[in-house]
């Protein structure tokens, strides 16, 4: 046994040159090749690039928001403009950054990891991307189009949650809210198309031998994400259709003057909105579950439990939405139920964190950039999870709700958790997608500067919330004890911006100057590392066959293959029948 662990990584026990596909240049086919592509890899890259673009746009808005809040009673940004900024920032980050990037990750990686040649419905895939893309443009077109007709303000300013009746025609004149509803309706259709595609691909196109319990965890969690999408997104779409009926045809779903209800919008929105959080974070879990094992040189600890925990989180997340509504005067029983349901989610989430810890325990941890981002992800997501438990305690939430504590909490989830995992993803799979390595030096600069900036920005916001600072205010008076925390928070933005400069420079630099990656730069174990970087159109020269969760480990360590552990009976049989090298 012990000997097998000494196998050198260079002895990648498979003949690379023989069954090798032609790598495909990123630039093959020119512009046409990108615009008309139905290749899952190109669509994945398109998704991620447009997500990153909107990330920068919404990031600039966030920086301006922080500039305005740096001093009490500052007069840098008008209140209307500020309200548009936080609405567009939130809407963009969730629907135009988070959703496309996770869709892109699933698109790029799921077919490669299950050893198939494309998504199940390639044209539906292209449709999904383009409807998302034009939907995004429609949202931003509001800056130009919305004032045109009525001259009543431009971009949406009702918050990303668009609570009724602030969105009714009485309180939101002009067309900005219509832009919000229509564009998000469109991107939602794109997301559902992608979700269906991911589910069908993962269930119906797995390569020979890849049973459900041998799928990489990334694929499992992508399936869970996709299921949540098809279950939760329609709630938002339905509510948006009702809102548009209200605004255009004079229906009264949310018109409180005509007997409509403000709270039913909240219910519909959060029936979508809470699962949405798990839709967004699930790919973060997925990336961490792939990267942490490879850089700890151990298989994921407790694979079946990880799968079960993901499914459990998804189920539970459908039944906790009203914890966003503890202040609307729910009856005590409702408050107790939703508090309890929310706390229960902490159990499977905790199991995940412990399993990642268990994976690292006893490993040989390589602190390269993808792993650094994953480690920061673990710490920051731990904080986010724990503040989440604090918010789940209904009486405590009566105080913390809609305060800066909540702002800090969900930025720890979505930046500290998801974005760090996305960075890890990009550092880890960029070599596969482009054929070149990102610079480790620039990567480490990016990591440290951004990590410090992130914590400096959002750490102090916990305290501002505890001191009573509400969300979504464009200014505040001096003397309420919030100044220093806001200033620290705003200073953190500078660090984040510098960190991002390193990242963007690294992305562009590595495309031309990065070290050649080769097929398997990280000495990893899943199927995407068996093909060229970047992979050809058809991904694999021959259809792969797998015997375990880590097919490349089996090849590299023929004396101690994974299926030895997975399925002792199969091991005995193979030992009898063949003496492989």
């Amino acid at each position: 046994m012990a000997d097998s662990h000494l196998t050198t990584a260079t002895a990648k026990g498979f003949p690379v040159a023989e069954a090798h596909a032609e790598e495909k240049s990123l630039w093959a086919g020119g512009i046409h090749g990108w615009l008309f592509t139905v290749d899952h890899k190109r669509l994945g890259i398109l998704y991620i690039c447009s997500g990153l673009f909107f990330f920068l746009v919404a990031g600039v808005m966030a920086a301006l928001i922080r500039l305005q809040l740096m001093w009490p009673r500052a007069e840098i940004i008008e209140p209307e403009v500020f309200n548009r900024f936080f609405t567009m920032h939130g809407t963009t980050m969730v629907f135009l950054v988070g959703m496309p990037i996770i869709a892109g990750m699933a698109n790029y990686l799921v077919p490669l990891q299950i050893g198939t040649r494309d998504m199940a419905f390639p044209r539906l895939n292209a449709f999904g991307f383009w409807i998302f893309f034009f939907g995004s443009l429609l949202l931003y077109f509001s800056y130009i189009g919305a004032p045109g007709l009525y001259n009543k303000g431009s971009a949406p300013d009702v918050g990303w949650f668009a609570y009724a009746p602030l969105t009714s025609r009485a309180f939101s004149k002009g067309t900005s809210t219509d832009y919000w509803a229509l564009s998000i309706l469109l991107t939602g259709i794109g997301s559902i198309a992608t979700a269906i595609n991911v589910i069908v691909t993962a269930f119906c196109l797995r390569c020979k031998g890849m049973t459900l319990m041998r799928m990489p965890l990334f694929v499992w969690m992508s399936i869970v994400m996709a299921f949540l999408m098809i279950l939760a997104l329609p709630a938002l779409s339905a509510a948006q259709i009702m809102l548009l009926l209200d605004r255009y045809l004079g229906a009264a779903f949310f018109d409180t003057q005509a007997g409509g209800s403000a709270t039913i919008w909240m219910h519909f929105f959060w029936i979508f909105g809470h699962p949405e959080v798990y839709i967004l974070i699930m790919p973060g879990f997925a990336a961490a579950s792939e990267i942490i094992p490879v850089f700890s040189r151990k298989p994921i600890f407790g694979y079946p439990i990880m799968v079960a925990a993901s499914v459990a989180i998804a189920f539970l997340s459908l039944g906790v939405w009203a914890h966003h509504m503890f202040t609307i005067g729910l009856p005590p029983l409702g408050n107790t139920f939703f508090a309890f349901a929310t706390m229960v989610i902490a159990v499977p989430t905790g199991i995940k964190i412990f399993n990642w810890l268990g994976t690292m325990w006893g490993g040989k941890i390589r602190l390269q950039t993808p792993m650094l981002f994953c480690i920061a992800f673990l710490f920051q997501f731990l904080i986010a999870g724990l503040t989440g438990i604090m918010l789940a305690v209904t009486p405590f939430d009566w105080q913390l709700h809609d305060s800066y504590f909540v702002v800090a909490h969900f930025h720890y989830v979505l930046i500290g958790g998801l974005l760090f995992a996305i960075f890890a993803t990009i550092y880890y799979w960029y070599p596969k997608a482009t054929g070149r390595m990102l610079s480790e030096t620039l990567g480490k600069w990016h990591f440290w500067v951004f990590m410090i900036g992130f914590n400096l920005t959002f750490g102090p916001q916990h305290i501002a919330g505890i001191l009573g600072m509400p969300r979504r205010i464009y200014t505040y008076d001096a003397g309420r004890g919030w100044e220093i925390w806001n200033q620290l928070s705003s200073i953190g933005v500078i660090f984040q911006a510098i960190g991002l400069l390193f990242f963007v420079y690294n992305l562009v630099w590595a495309l031309y100057r990065g070290k050649k990656a080769g097929d398997d730069p990280w000495d990893a174990w899943t199927l995407e590392w068996t093909t060229t970087s970047p992979p050809p159109d058809y991904n694999f020269e021959t259809d792969p066959v797998v015997n375990s969760r880590r097919p490349l480990w089996d090849i590299k360590h023929p004396n101690d293959p994974d299926w030895h552990h997975d399925d002792p009976e199969m091991f005995r049989k193979s030992a009898k029948t063949s003496q492989h090298p």
Binding site: D157, Y163, H401, G468
Partner: protein, 356 residues
């Protein structure tokens, strides 16, 4: 835009200002001191409650904060230990560690322990929800209806049976100390939320729906609060003050508020202008033909500490500035610029300033 209490954008003066702000007595600019003991609780902390309602939730808040801090310390400690201990050392890059796939016992342990913690927290949470939400409110509680409006607070003092409105004021809630005040929360337009951190957690004001909450302050002074649910352009300037007074001071205030407005012949010109222009379409002054319901009641407006729901301290200068162009002081608010002449401005300011 407002002429704020403290206004400077130079960083240096900010930083020195910050040092001064650490002194606890610094509060809300030069806000007039009308609270019984003059203390303005501008700085609040949800862990330092000054009302029974906020105290009730303190126990479970500390409990969950303590538990979460302990979990963080343990898990973060283990993570740090793992990262340091199991780092790949130079020269070992080619070695693979023993491949461990999982352990049923360990998984079971870190499933069951969190379940127990969750169970404990859920029980304490349920009990606290009960004590706050199901509290029997004494019959002699002060009953006040608070109506959220874009972007100010309309406050109705109700009769002892809670059925009729006895007096209407705005933006400033006066309540007696050590006594339960029962709040009925409504909204005239969009969703708002009532939040004074030291007194109680927040409750939403929802149109077409009445919410209830209660406070029982135990400290004298003026407490600052905010609207805590985004409600449109001036959500940030929908500020709220709760003045906690002793019973005698409160009774005196209430009697003064219920009294008819002061008649001062010296301001007849202003009064005349006020009634001639469209002010009365939105504002009310008791005992006159001004019965508007869209804006704040002005009967005793000068008894209030601030103008425009907390944008500036209320005095003749800010009042005149407000009348000259409300959109300048609080951009986007629903009071239009009345295009008053200088003379009209002077007169109306004088008249309103007489409404003590």
């Amino acid at each position: 835009m407002p002429r704020p209490f403290i206004q400077s954008r130079r960083l240096l003066s900010r930083l020195t200002g910050m040092l001064v702000l650490i002194a606890p007595s610094i509060a809300f600019g030069q806000a007039p001191e009308t609270a019984s003991n003059g203390v303005v609780h501008a700085k609040q902390n949800i862990f330092v409650p000054m009302s029974a309602a906020a105290e009730e939730v303190l126990g479970v808040s500390w409990l969950v904060t303590g538990i979460c801090t302990a979990i963080f310390a343990i898990v973060a400690g283990l993570l740090t230990y793992a990262i340091i201990k199991f780092r790949s050392k130079p020269g070992e890059e080619r070695l693979e560690p023993p491949q461990i796939y999982g352990s049923f016992q360990i998984e079971l342990a870190w499933t069951i322990i969190p379940i127990m913690i969750v169970f404990l927290l859920a029980l304490v949470t349920a009990r606290t929800i009960g004590t706050v939400q199901a509290r029997q409110i004494p019959a002699d509680a002060v009953k006040i209806k608070v109506i959220g409006r874009q972007w100010w607070w309309e406050i109705h003092y109700l009769s002892a049976d809670g059925k009729t409105t006895e007096m209407i004021t705005a933006n400033e809630l006066h309540v007696p100390v050590n006594k339960v005040t029962h709040l009925y929360l409504q909204s005239a337009d969009v969703v708002h939320a009532f939040w004074v951190p030291a007194l109680a957690g927040k409750t939403d004001l929802i149109p077409n729906h009445t919410n209830e909450m209660w406070i029982e302050p135990n400290t004298l002074g003026t407490f600052l609060g905010n609207c805590a649910e985004y409600c449109g352009t001036q959500h940030a300037n929908m500020l709220l003050r709760v003045v906690v007074d002793d019973q005698a001071g409160y009774d005196k205030w209430l009697a003064a508020q219920k009294a008819p407005p002061v008649e001062d012949t010296a301001v007849a010109a202003g009064k005349d202008t006020f009634f001639r222009t469209s002010c009365i379409n939105c504002h009310a002054v008791d005992g006159t033909i001004a019965k508007g319901v869209f804006g704040p009641d002005l009967t005793h407006m000068m008894s209030r500490q601030t103008i425009a729901a907390g944008v500036a301290p209320l005095n003749k200068e800010t009042l005149r500035e407000w009348l000259r162009d409300p959109q300048e002081m609080k951009h986007g608010n629903l009071m239009p610029n009345m295009q008053l002449t200088e003379k009209e401005l002077d007169d109306i300011t004088e008249y309103l300033a007489s409404l003590k």
